[in-house]
Amino acid sequence: MSKTLIIPDFTKTATIDQVGVEERCARFTSRSIKKDTKLHGLKMVLSMIDLTTLEGKDTEGKVKQMCYKATHLHDVLPGLPTAAAVCVYPSMVKIAKEALKNSNVKVASVATAFPSGQSTREIKILDTKFAVDNGADEIDMVISRGEFLKGNFNFVFDEIAAVKEACGKARLKVIFETGELSTLDNVRKASEIAIYAGADFIKTSTGKISPAATMPVTLVMLEAIRDYYYKTGIMIGMKPAGGISTAKSALHYLVMVKETLGMAWLSNEWFRFGASSLANDVLMQLMKEATGVYQSSDYFSKD
């Protein structure tokens, strides 16, 4: 980007009224999504999913199985998209990359001492570089929530900028762990810091803390993205992660994206769901649309 960007004063970010945000979210959920709109929406949701496994007990076998699922969501039903990406720990990037080499599915790796982020900057950079060197297309970093809550916004900003540099060509998603930020004003502030520091995507949660993604948190982040777009014309992506497990709630999120940022964001280049159980619920709904009946969950593969 050749244009110079004035970095705002992060102590004075836009104010948020929580009650108003919740009311707006309730309006999104009252949209009625039927027929073709539903079918099209469900397929969009599938194509936006980052299938995720982030556990201490992850093995190569488990990651390979998930990668297969990412490219073969439900072969019984023709015409389905693949998942957008798989999301794994850095140590599994190589395996995932190999397993997905003939597909368009991206490999995203968490990094920077995920999920707590409690480490030194050097280690975080090394962690990022390791993942990128192993072939990660996308890096999901966590911010230092402790520093953020101390009001040390420059620290958070610099850290994101440093990780972004370490990413090279990989796209950077910045995780706020909104469940630890406690207020929507903080979510807004974190969004602005991350966006100005170079995030390609902003992401709600690690999935390790409850509450994870919620509609109000996501709306505040989408509005921060919109304000940045108004100012610069630059698009930033959004990834709610954790806690979205039903097709119905995923459709509500799409309604929110459509009515806040518009059609340009309704693709997996700009919007993702970080989720593992969501895919099967969407598949169940799609099979219901196709056959007219709900099938048992045993008909949908769990990888």
Binding site: V19, G20, S32, T37, G41, I234, G262, M263, A264
Partner: protein, 489 residues
């Protein structure tokens, strides 16, 4: 790839919502409705009926009786008889039971009420389903609770009922206004003659059916239909103790003149032209939502609509830009569709009035902006409309339009905006948007408006009083205040 340096948002090019119309098969509408007098549906003396239409399709929904003076006489007589012999003698707790019963029956038939309200009035089903009908039932629930506690509501003041109340209600919230009027009147021990507006009589008549079903003693509530003449006959009837009117300021003035010199009690809830004030430190995205909710709720047919927007200069550009984008996501069309945000204008006459003002605004040189949405060919519809660069001297800023038309002015200081907000004959409501509590309290004491909403708009609750200053009327509805309008001490 990303569209660089062209910061326009596209909301409608694909993935649009498929039609989701609410089913109408479950409703029960008669072809013809008579007058509800003394617990029975009776034919009008002169046998005259008029049509009530669906403003979204212009199709006739039903024929409705036109009450003349003789019919009004009958209704008042029935109400007086019920007051003298039954209702005033009944233990207050028993009165409360009937009001509870009406509330419960209304809840049970909420879906039918919502659909009929939408068919007859043109408001989106989302609103009639989520706002009008539940709020109407809540008013009955709330006032039912007061029926046997009047002495506690007004300690040591010996509250007594008035007698027969004549009530005339408008077309913008037909069922809800009927509830606002009937519930406190009954709880206070009065009997009622109510006239719904001529364009939207159906839900009041359905309410009459529920009242019949509830076993409320005959004559306690009488619902008669007709136009201005019928209303005048109620106002001028010598045996009525109280007039409660919601409607236009012009008619309100006429009513006040015609009851001068009588000892009828009067409450008037009239027009408005509310200021909705956005300060620089406001939560902007939520304020934009509040602006939309303030002016486009119920197609702007709201006496307390936030129809004059004041934006502090430092944020004017961003607020207007966001407002324009938000307008693009508002869906205008079939009121029965669950995704419709803005339904049909209530009548041809009202649409003409709105269009007249839009023309005035353009002629006055204000900059008009309308959303790009398509509107149905049949029926009465109006695109959400903004007028930018307006001033207090524009007629569209001074006069109540009662439609989806927002005028936008900028301001610099708190003193300036208070002066401008109060510089209007009306004084029903206002909205203030700021992150700072002290600023809110400063404004609430200085704005001459009956209701001031802070960081929200168009919020209603049965426990909260509602009513105006100046030419917006007098007397309060809702809460304990609403009870006192139906009592003497």
């Amino acid at each position: 790839m990303a569209k660089k340096n062209t910061p326009n948002l596209d909301f409608n090019s694909s993935w649009n919502y498929a039609p989701a119309p609410e089913d109408t098969k479950h409703i029960n509408l008669k072809k013809q409705y008579d007058l509800f007098i003394d617990g029975k549906f009776v034919k009008p003396t002169k046998g005259k009926y008029f049509d009530t239409i669906n403003p979204a399709t212009e199709e006739v929904l039903a024929k409705v009786a036109e009450a003349d003076e003789t019919d009004v006489n009958k209704a008042v007589k029935a109400a007086r008889n019920a007051y003298n012999n039954v209702w005033s003698k009944m233990p207050a707790a028993e009165r409360g039971k009937y009001i509870y019963r009406i509330a419960r029956l209304m809840q049970e038939r909420a879906r039918e009420f919502a659909v009929i309200e939408t068919l007859d009035g043109g408001k989106p089903i989302r609103e009639s389903r989520d706002v009008d009908v539940p709020l109407a039932a809540n008013h009955f629930f709330y006032y039912a609770g007061w029926a046997d506690k009047l002495d506690y509501a007004f300690p040591n003041r010996k509250p007594q009922s008035l007698g027969v109340a004549g009530q005339i209600i408008p077309w913008n919230f037909p069922l809800l206004m009927a509830a606002w009027k009937i519930a406190p009147a009954l709880a206070a021990g009065n009997t009622v003659v109510l006239k719904p507006a001529e364009t939207t009589p159906l839900t009041a008549l359905k309410l009459a059916e529920i009242i019949q079903e509830s076993g409320l003693p005959d004559g306690v509530v009488n619902i008669i239909t007709g136009a201005g003449k019928t209303g005048a006959a109620i106002v001028n009837h010598p045996d009525i103790n109280k007039i409660a009117f919601t409607g236009s300021t012009d008619v309100g003035k006429l009513i006040q003149k015609s009851i001068a010199g009588t000892n009828k009690k009067l409450t008037l809830e009239l027009g408005g032209k509310a200021a909705n004030i956005i300060f620089e430190d406001a939560p902007i995205d939520q304020a934009v939502e509040g602006i939309v909710n303030g002016i486009f709720f119920n197609q702007g047919h709201v006496c307390c609509a936030g129809s004059r927007l004041f934006v502090q200069e430092g944020v004017a550009d961003i607020v207007i830009r966001k407002l324009k984008d938000r307008l693009e996501t508002l869906i205008v069309g079939d009121p029965l569709d669950k995704n419709t945000d803005i339904g049909a204008i209530n009548s041809k006459g009202q649409l003409d009035t709105i269009n007249k003002y839009i023309k005035i605004g353009k002629d006055e040189g204000a900059e008009m902006y309308q959303s790009s949405c398509s509107i149905p060919k049949k029926g009465f519809f109006c695109r959400p409309t903004l007028f930018l660069n307006t001033s207090q001297s524009h007629r569209i800023v001074q006069e109540e339009i009662f439609g989806p038309v927002l005028t936008i002015q900028t301001f610099r200081t708190v003193e300036e905006v208070i002066e401008k907000a109060n510089n209007i004959p009306y004084g029903l409501s206002a909205g203030v948007w700021t992150d700072k509590g002290s600023k809110i309290f400063n404004l609430t004491t200085k704005l001459r408006a009956g209701v001031v909403w802070a960081n929200t708009y168009n919020k209603f609750d049965p426990t909260s009083p509602f009513g105006g200053y100046k030419e917006s009327g007098f007397g309060r509805e809702g809460g304990i205040h609403g009870l006192s309008s139906y009592l003497k001490f």
